[in-house]
């Protein structure tokens, strides 16, 4: 093990682990070392308890119900909205739409705000986007003749900010970027880009799927217009995500889905819409998962997002250091932990990522192998796929050590030198 500075974090990962039931389980006879947090995080006991509590006490359909359960369910559901608004410092809880996941939130922007664009208008994305921030815009481009442009990345895996001025123009209507790459870990300068976007009159859409759970994110301080993220990557349940938006923009948008809850008055041949945010929430919402999610945000707030970030920055620094000591390994993304989130993509040129992940799984270590829903980025990096280890609050140096040992063992397994 390499000597490093002692961790500067105030988190106690091993105490935290005790709060996550799944982390007590064994995989193939080994303790579970869960390093696939960028795909989805595990859930603390408090989230599971909130879910049970909702179903065992207050389950009912929301809004309009006069009876006690309906009132309690409505209060629990709406409490999620205000909790999220507070967590990301949204200007107004009416600007928080409870969607299915980050993907759904991004599609909502692309389809509804996108409907205001016309042929020749431009949307600026980047080469490091997740498919969920690419395909909605591809659908829009197809439908409306909108032009997609892509901010290139440098060889160190950062946005090429020098290219920004020439990619922005009066034609640019929307800039949609990830705040943190799910492959490279890169943290992007969102506030700076938002300012540039606004200067040309574009709205700024942020894919916060990886940033919101792992670093302080302040909607108003960033000066963005739309922010999307998923609960399941932030220690919450699967099945809900959020679009946080400036209310005045939502007011100008048309709903893309129709049904119960989102209407005001319905006639057989026409209808008027409910106020925001309800206008964008058609049908019975995912009440239980909304009722449960605040417990996850409570945990994060208790830890403090600065401490969460510090912990993961330290740990990714340690991981980078240890992984770099494996000379055969190719690492992707910036090497400075201050410029990246807690995830590392790497390639063993002689072992396909799938095989790596498989061997690690045999040792109880869960990493992800593949294109990570970023095929264009894989092409840019000229790799078919990468292996990715991604960290969370409950991971520690032992987990990183287990990973490194596993990578060495994999070489042995496949008869390669290490």
């Amino acid at each position: 093990m390499t000597a490093t500075a002692p961790p500067r974090t105030t988190l106690d990962p091993s105490a935290l682990r005790a709060r996550f039931p799944i982390l007590q389980r064994q995989v193939h006879g080994h303790r579970l070392v869960y390093l696939d947090n960028a795909a989805t995080t595990q859930k603390p006991e408090t989230v599971l308890a909130a879910l049970q509590h909702y179903y065992a006490n207050s389950n009912a359909n929301v809004h309009r119900g006069v009876h006690t359960l309906a009132e309690e369910a409505t209060a629990a559901y709406e409490a999620c909205r205000s909790r999220v608004a507070r967590f990301v410092n949204a200007p107004d809880e009416r600007g928080v739409i409870i969607a299915r996941n980050a993907t759904d939130a991004l599609n909502l922007v692309a389809r509804s705000w996108g409907a205001t664009l016309t042929a020749g208008d431009e949307v600026l994305l980047s080469e490091m986007e997740h498919h969920s921030n690419l395909v909605p815009w591809i659908l829009l481009a197809r439908e409306r003749g909108v032009v997609l442009r892509h901010l290139p990345i440098t060889d160190s895996g950062e946005l090429d900010m020098a290219a920004l001025p020439r990619m922005l123009s009066r034609r640019t209507q929307i800039v949609a970027l990830t705040a943190m790459s799910n492959v490279l870990g890169t943290i992007n300068p969102i506030a700076e880009i938002a300012e540039a976007a606004h200067r040309v009159g574009a709205v700024m859409v942020v894919d916060g799927a990886q940033s919101v759970p792992h670093m302080p994110v302040d909607f108003q301080a960033l000066g963005v217009d739309f922010l999307a993220f998923s609960a399941h990557k932030a220690y919450g349940p699967t099945g809900i995500g959020f679009l946080v938006a400036k209310p005045e923009l939502l007011d100008r948008m048309e709903p893309i889905s129709g049904g119960g809850e989102m209407i005001r008055a319905v006639h057989l041949d026409r209808a008027t819409w409910n106020e925001i945010p309800h206008k964008f929430e058609a049908g019975t919402p995912n009440i239980a998962d909304a009722a449960a999610f605040p417990a996850a945000l409570d945990m994060l707030e208790e830890l403090g997002m600065d401490a969460v970030r510090a912990h993961e920055r330290d740990l990714v620094g340690y991981a980078l250091e240890r992984l770099r000591s494996l000379e055969w390994l190719e690492l992707h993304g910036p090497l400075d932990p201050a410029r990246r989130g807690g995830l590392v993509s790497f390639v063993d040129p002689e072992i396909h990522p799938h095989d790596l992940a498989q061997v690690l799984d045999g040792r109880g270590i869960a990493i992800r192998a593949g294109h990570h829903c970023a095929q264009p980025l894989m092409r840019r990096l000229d790799v078919p796929a990468t292996a990715r280890a991604s960290l969370a609050v409950y991971n520690d140096r032992d987990d990183v050590d287990a990973l490194v040992d596993g990578l060495v063992a994999a070489r042995k397994y496949f008869g390669l030198e290490s």
Partner: protein, 164 residues
């Protein structure tokens, strides 16, 4: 999930409220109508037809028709009792004060809400708050139309109050 103590039904339906519901005031047709508005809450079907007569900016007559729940009816009836003889500005003050009460804040000490105070219990029943406010939203609408010179305008107030 919610920390709501067991609320007796009687806190919602106080005797004064039930009395206004049973014998609503302000049902007599006005001979002269200077302003009118139609308030409708599609969520529960509550409906208020409001007619006003005015002398300068003073409200001289109020007529409230429509069909609604006990809370909406009582609220409209109380309004019909409270605002005749008041100026437009005074009526606005009542509306503001009542809205505050419904949203869990307290009314300014110098505003006497009269019978309306009996509706205070409604604030503990979030779904019913819209019912209590509908006549007042409709009043604001009628006065706005009248100020704009549209004395004969009928508008539909699709009430945008608080959260459902």
């Amino acid at each position: 999930m919610v920390d709501r103590p067991e609320v007796a039904l009687d806190e919602l339906y106080r005797e004064v409220v039930l009395d206004h519901h049973r014998r609503p005031r302000g049902r007599a047709p006005l001979s002269r109508v200077d302003a009118r508005a139609h308030g409708f809450n599609p969520v529960c079907g509550d409906e208020v037809h409001l007619h006003l007569s005015l002398d300068g900016d003073r409200i001289t007559g109020v007529e409230v028709q429509g069909r609604g729940c006990a809370i909406c009816t009582a609220s409209g009836s109380m309004m019909a009792e409270l605002i005749p003889g008041r100026s437009e500005a005074e009526a606005g003050t009542f509306a503001e004060a009542f809205r505050s009460v419904m949203h869990g804040k307290s009314a300014p000490p110098d505003v006497d809400l009269g019978d309306l105070e009996a509706l205070e219990g409604v604030k503990k029943f979030p779904v019913r708050v819209k019912c209590a406010l509908l006549p007042w939203v409709t009043l604001a609408d009628a006065l706005r139309a009248w100020r704009d010179g549209a004395t004969e305008t009928t508008t539909t107030t699709e009430i945008e109050e608080a959260k459902p």
